[in-house]
Symmetry: C2
Subunit: 327 residues, 2 copies
């Protein structure tokens, strides 16, 4: 029996997040509108506390722990953005946090997680099993696990992105025809889809994945959750989940109009576009929705398209390398 997430859960999460997460603005950019031949609304979660949307779900989960659960601390696994979100939420709530992270995670993500007070345990992304390591630590300490996407509280928290996006777009008199949302495990896309569909029932919502981590696209095609093989590689360190979540997939399958995929080269071009024209620092995983519209993965001409830039935690070396490439 799959637990459900309701719009009321997302509204309650929004209330919990007041004064914790930032209500990121909804931006517009002339160059981007010209590039895609339509109007684009940009939700820049790179400007969010900890540099990604992840604080929303993490805080929504941690703030609902019982006192006893809270006193035992929590354990999470994450490539870096959920790590920072959990560490920051733990610091705010006085809950000890331990996060299992790949040893090759971006330096900035590792350092920030530690700076925020998280205890970091590293593993090898391609040979270790982070879930096994995290569960072992949690069992030893009777600590609660904080999954990075497949939990109703996480989904409801990430859904506040869609809630804000819908409200601001309606206020601006620009309800979007379609919304594109980066997708790893599917927490952001499923939560936001619930919120968006409640406010804009006719909106088309697309998840966007890296070409080689197209587990949600393949799962859509197969009508069941599919695991991709472990030789997959992508520049999008934040979106390297091998299989959709159970809860997230059920919601995404029900509400999304489709799944788009983008190549590493398209992501790199999007990061350059964001630097040059948007003046925003966007990380690879955060740039996939922008990459999708810039590379024409769906019709944008004459339409209003909203995109989520889900994070901005990129190491300076990679950023400089990408900016130096020809357009």
């Amino acid at each position: 029996m799959v637990e459900t997430v309701s719009i009321a859960d997302i509204e309650k999460a929004a209330a919990r997040l007041e004064g914790v997460s930032i209500r990121t603005p909804l931006l517009q950019n002339v160059e981007l509108d010209q590039a895609v031949g339509g109007k684009v609304l940009i939700k820049p979660e790179c400007l969010q506390v900890t540099g990604s949307f992840k604080i929303r779900g993490a805080y929504n989960r941690l703030s609902q722990l019982t006192d006893e659960q809270a006193s035992n601390g929590v354990v999470a696994w994450s490539s870096g953005n959920h790590a920072q979100g959990v560490a920051a939420a733990g610091a705010m709530l006085g809950i000890q946090t331990t996060i299992v992270m790949p040893e090759d995670a971006p330096r900035a993500k590792l350092e920030n997680t530690k700076r925020l007070g998280g205890e970091v345990v590293t593993y090898d992304r391609y040979t270790g099993d982070r879930e096994v390591i995290a569960k072992q630590i949690a069992a030893e300490r009777s600590a609660e696990l904080v999954p990075s996407y497949d939990h109703p509280h996480i989904i409801a928290g990430q859904g506040t992105v869609g809630l804000e996006l819908a409200a601001d777009a309606i206020d601006m008199g620009l309800p979007p025809d379609q919304v594109l949302i980066p997708c790893g495990g599917g927490g952001l896309s499923s939560g936001s889809a619930l919120a968006l569909k409640s406010r804009l029932p006719n909106v088309d919502i697309y998840a966007v994945e890296p070409e080689d981590f197209d587990d949600t696209a393949r799962s859509f095609a197969a009508n069941k959750r599919v695991r991709i093989d472990d030789t997959a590689r992508s520049i999008c360190d934040a979106l390297q989940t091998p299989m959709p979540g159970e809860l997230t997939f059920e919601i995404n399958e029900r509400l999304l109009s489709g799944v788009l995929t983008v190549s590493d080269a398209e992501v790199r071009a999007a990061i350059r576009f964001a630097f040059k024209n948007l003046k925003l620092v966007v990380e690879p995983g955060g740039a996939v929705a922008l990459a999708a519209i810039l590379s024409g993965k769906l019709e944008t001409r004459g339409l209003t398209t909203a995109i989520v830039l889900s994070g901005g935690n990129i190491d300076v070396d990679l950023f400089a390398e990408i900016q130096a490439e020809p357009n």
Copy 2:
């Protein structure tokens, strides 16, 4: 007799700019608050149309030309941001624009001005006199000059930055104790000071200049407009004006609490901070107010300080070079 600018002029400019300029958001950032020990409100004009606040004044001026003036085109001189603002406003209004720019202006600024339809005439920043060149072209064509700061319509347009800042800060329940504004010729600081003081009479407003282009600071000390010598150099290409404007100085002298200066090294550190923590791309001249609070040029502990990030048009080579430097 000096023409005055009133708050009504700024409100009218705001009405003209609806649908033209972006109402940039007022952002907050946890790392920045921690770094300065107080609350900081960030007005990111790097997200503005053309990547700086300059579209505001340029459009406000060009939209008030008579039909005859408009038909003869306009001439401006600018290191790059006013150039783009004038070219963009001209394109919107169907007015031919010619802009005299230093040949060593950032490539991005030169290219964007041309892309926006501006005719670019270059000169040597250190030997040529851009004002003489611009006036000669204007005389030949009976074209109107569009000064970059010392004109009531320009000041009123830039003042909309202060108007938005005050309104949003009040809405957020965070009226600032002090506001720091980048200062070249003083158009942005004087216009914004007029608007801010009308909404928040007790606010302290500071102009911020590059150390070597401290003409407004020196003019404050001398109680009259002072010209700095032409050996001055600064990384802030947008703030290299040798002397305050007549109109702008009269307003600034009356309304500002003081003038702060920052070094190139402090500006470079601020650009790194903006990349790493704010996820914003800020150009040197746009980063001086951030540099001032990060380097402790005035008390921020326990206070609410608003800063304007006035532009984000920086070439990728310089940006990468700055990011590669140790903190």
